[in-house]
């Protein structure tokens, strides 16, 4: 591997406060019946800040603030004015993008080149896109006068903290709802800076409320009788529990859950491009991606060639300091997630798959996992069935397109899939048959605010992004 001098991004653009309260009704407040917890940098285990943990009363206060703002301010406000607030927020995010990118990498562990070049541009674009819908809802295809639902309870994961916030808050506000959002307990900081951005934009108090905390806070929020809408992104297990919790209520529910995507490489695929796509598919964001291409299906006749190229490419990946601009793979988000990745990887070895990682030096402090592939994987192996949510790729082979479809669809999930081939008719034939909400052909892990995203089967329901993304926040 080439030697590069360290190229660390400066932390000086970020001013992390020692402690953060809850953002309720436009102000940061101390919890009344909650406690506090610490958010750490997963690359160094250093404590970044102390954050409030919202108890049931705090959640109640936030929901009431959102209700009042919905009834008195945000609901009655003309769409064109809601639009202007959202455009303002989009602009402030663009202006503060460096600061937010560095903070995201510090709190999450993802490489700065990703938070800077992928997350933040998409966050701003998402607000900019939905801002424009706020005064055009009658043209969205949901009837002449679609109405907002009221108060939206939103619970988001730690893998793309600010981007998931944008996916939730932008369409909700554009449609005229107010929100109470709970960020993940390991990555609350960018959501709290977003709260400051709401203040900076003079967004009316109570339209956006941020309650930090863990599972109990999330449960109190989605089960609160005063919310009209629940939106969740996270594990299928928690999604199921939420679906049960809202059963029999008026709450409208959208869920974006787990995945076990097949990335399918045919013998006529451009191998170098496919290998880049495989690497992007599973090692992007340390594999902490619900739509990650975690099952590689290679046509048997090219399996050796593809694997050889893939291993050569993997040996070039730089694992380490997330703030270094040359880093490809950053830190695993938490000790708990690292433990889960280790457990499933050990199960892969124990069940008879062959494990390979490039030689790679991992930092001593923090949570790290070397990019790993398993070959000789069968469909019965746990590593072929369960979502690992880490930089671990399971490799299977196939002979015919029909067999590829069969194996790709042999999962309770259905979030995404990849196809690599030079033959156009085969792409379309495959795309028709893959039971997945997003199909990337000769590319992978591409996102855009105009493009609907969401799963089939146990990957959840509803779509985020595009015109479709408004539907979950309107009474249609």
């Amino acid at each position: 591997m080439f030697e590069y001098a360290p190229a660390p991004e400066s932390r000086s653009v970020v001013d992390i406060k020692p402690s953060y309260g809850l953002f309720v009704n436009g102000e940061f407040v101390d919890p009344t019946d909650g406690g506090t917890f610490k958010s750490i940098n997963p690359a160094s285990e250093e404590v970044l800040a102390e954050v409030a943990e919202a108890g049931p009363q705090d959640v109640d206060r936030a929901v009431r603030a959102a209700r009042e703002a919905y009834e008195k301010v945000w609901g009655p406000m003309p769409g064109r004015d809601r639009a202007k607030y959202l455009y303002r927020i989009a602009r402030i995010i663009q202006e503060r993008s460096r600061e937010l990118a560095v903070l995201e990498s510090l709190d999450n562990g993802k490489p700065i080149k990703e938070s800077r070049d992928v997350d933040l541009p998409l966050v701003a674009a998402h607000f900019f896109y939905y801002a424009g819908w706020a005064d055009k809802l009658p043209y969205a295809g949901f009837g002449p006068n679609p109405q907002p639902l009221g108060v939206a309870a939103q619970v988001i994961p730690w893998n793309f903290p600010l981007l998931m916030l944008a996916w939730k808050i932008a369409p909700a506000l554009a449609a005229g709802n107010t929100v109470v959002l709970k960020p993940a307990e390991t990555t609350p900081l960018t959501a709290l800076v977003f709260a400051e951005i709401c203040q900076q934009a003079d967004l009316p108090a109570g339209v956006v409320n941020i309650v930090t905390g863990a599972g109990d806070t999330g449960r109190a929020l989605v089960e609160h009788g005063g919310v009209d809408k629940v939106a969740f992104t996270g594990s299928t297990e928690v999604g199921r529990a939420i679906a049960r919790a809202v059963a029999g209520t008026r709450k409208k529910l959208t869920l974006e859950l787990g995945g076990k995507a097949a990335n399918i490489v045919f013998d006529d695929a451009p191998i170098d491009q496919a290998v880049e796509g495989i690497v992007n598919g599973i090692f992007f964001n340390q594999g902490h991606v619900c739509c990650a291409g975690s099952r590689l299906l290679i046509q048997e006749s090219v399996a050796d060639r593809v694997l050889e190229s893939l291993k050569r490419r993997m040996a070039q990946l730089r694992v380490g300091d997330p703030l270094d601009k040359n880093t490809d793979i950053g830190a695993i988000n938490s000790a708990a997630q690292l433990e889960r990745i280790r457990e499933l990887s050990d199960a892969g070895s124990a069940e008879g798959a062959e494990r390979w990682s490039p030689a790679c030096e991992l930092p001593e402090r923090g949570f790290w996992f070397a990019p790993t592939i398993f070959t000789g994987v069968t469909q019965a192996h746990r590593i072929a069935r369960e979502e690992i949510f880490g930089p671990v790729l399971s490799v299977l082979t196939f002979r015919t397109p029909a067999e590829a479809v069969e194996k790709a669809n042999n999962t309770p999930y259905g979030l995404s899939a990849g196809i690599w081939t030079d033959k156009g008719s085969r792409i379309l034939w495959m795309a028709d048959r893959l039971r997945a909400g997003v199909v990337w052909a000769n590319t992978f892990n591409k996102f855009d605010p105009t493009s609907p995203f969401g799963g089939y089967k146990e990957s959840g329901y509803g779509r985020e992004g595009g015109r479709h993304g408004l539907e979950g926040y309107l009474n249609v």
């Binding site: 795309a431 909400g437 997003v438 199909v439 990337w440 591409k446 105009t450 089967k457 329901y461």
Partner: protein, 274 residues
């Protein structure tokens, strides 16, 4: 000369294009007739038939599905008097026939109205199109017996889903007679399956069945049962349509929500380049 002795009809289930009795050998008396009393096993058999029909029906061209739904309207029009004899008002039969015609036309239009190209910020072709979710369990409304039934079946199947319908327990004859219409309309066997009997026997089985993709609770009037069914449906994250308000106006413009809530949106990306 003595008066001719009428030939009575046996009202049976409709599963996989055939008219079997309940495997349990049971029936119940309703609307002055013996009607099959479905068991949990009948419900499971119906799901197997519905699943087997998905590939052909979802894979049929939209033009073909549209023609078949229109054919259903043709057949229903011809059997108007038969439904009137069962007590369905003539206006309702007409409205039900018109509803088939209305939905028939959606088959090749909904993908354009509900999908399309997305202007992504990059050199990519990006297209979103709706697809059927798969097997849908449907609890038909108790009333209106025919129009309500048609109004829940047609929007589910026009896009390529297959259905297992729990007919109104109190007025099942219209449902069984509609099955006869469907069986003579070139609708492939298994696309629509109709169960008669007690909801409490069949619907919980459908709600918890792991090979059912969605459940339409329109006809469930007991709020507690509806909540329980929704909890069961969460096990494999079925798409759930909650019960309709009891004062729902079935003669009003149905809109497209019934169709779209049983669809998945698939988005396909491909790079542009030379």
């Amino acid at each position: 000369m003595s008066e001719r002795v009428a030939v009575r009809k046996t009202y049976k289930l409709f599963i996989g294009g055939k008219f079997p009795r309940s495997e349990s050998g049971r029936s119940y008396i309703v609307q002055d007739s013996n009607v099959a009393l479905s068991s949990r096993k009948d419900a499971r058999d119906a799901v197997v038939a519905a699943r087997a029909a998905v590939k052909g029906w979802a894979g049929a061209t939209a033009y073909n599905r549209g023609q078949i739904l229109y054919r259903v309207a043709e057949m229903l029009e011809g059997r108007r008097e038969q439904f009137v004899a069962l007590g369905v008002p003539g206006d309702e039969v007409d409205a039900a026939t018109d509803r088939w015609v209305w939905y028939a036309g959606w088959s090749d239009k909904l993908p354009q109205v509900y999908g399309g190209a997305n202007p992504v910020a990059g050199p990519y072709f990006n297209l979103s199109a709706p697809e059927p979710t798969g097997v849908v369990a449907v609890v038909a409304p108790e009333t209106p017996a025919l129009l309500g039934l048609v109004s829940v079946i047609a929007p589910a199947i026009v896009t390529g889903n297959t259905v297992v319908v729990a007919a109104s327990p109190a007025q099942p004859l219209a449902a069984v007679t509609l099955a006869e219409v469907l069986a003579t309309s070139d609708l492939p066997g298994g696309v629509v399956n109709i169960l008669t009997g007690r909801l409490s026997e069949t619907v919980p089985t459908l709600a918890s069945h792991m090979d059912v993709n969605a459940i339409d609770l329109t006809g469930v009037t007991d709020a507690e049962l509806a909540a329980d069914l929704e909890v069961k449906a969460a096990e494999n994250l079925k798409r759930v349509l909650r019960p309709a308000p009891t004062d729902h106006d079935w003669s009003a413009d149905p809109g497209i929500t019934r169709m779209t809530s049983l669809l998945e949106t698939k988005t396909v990306w491909h790079p542009k380049g030379v």
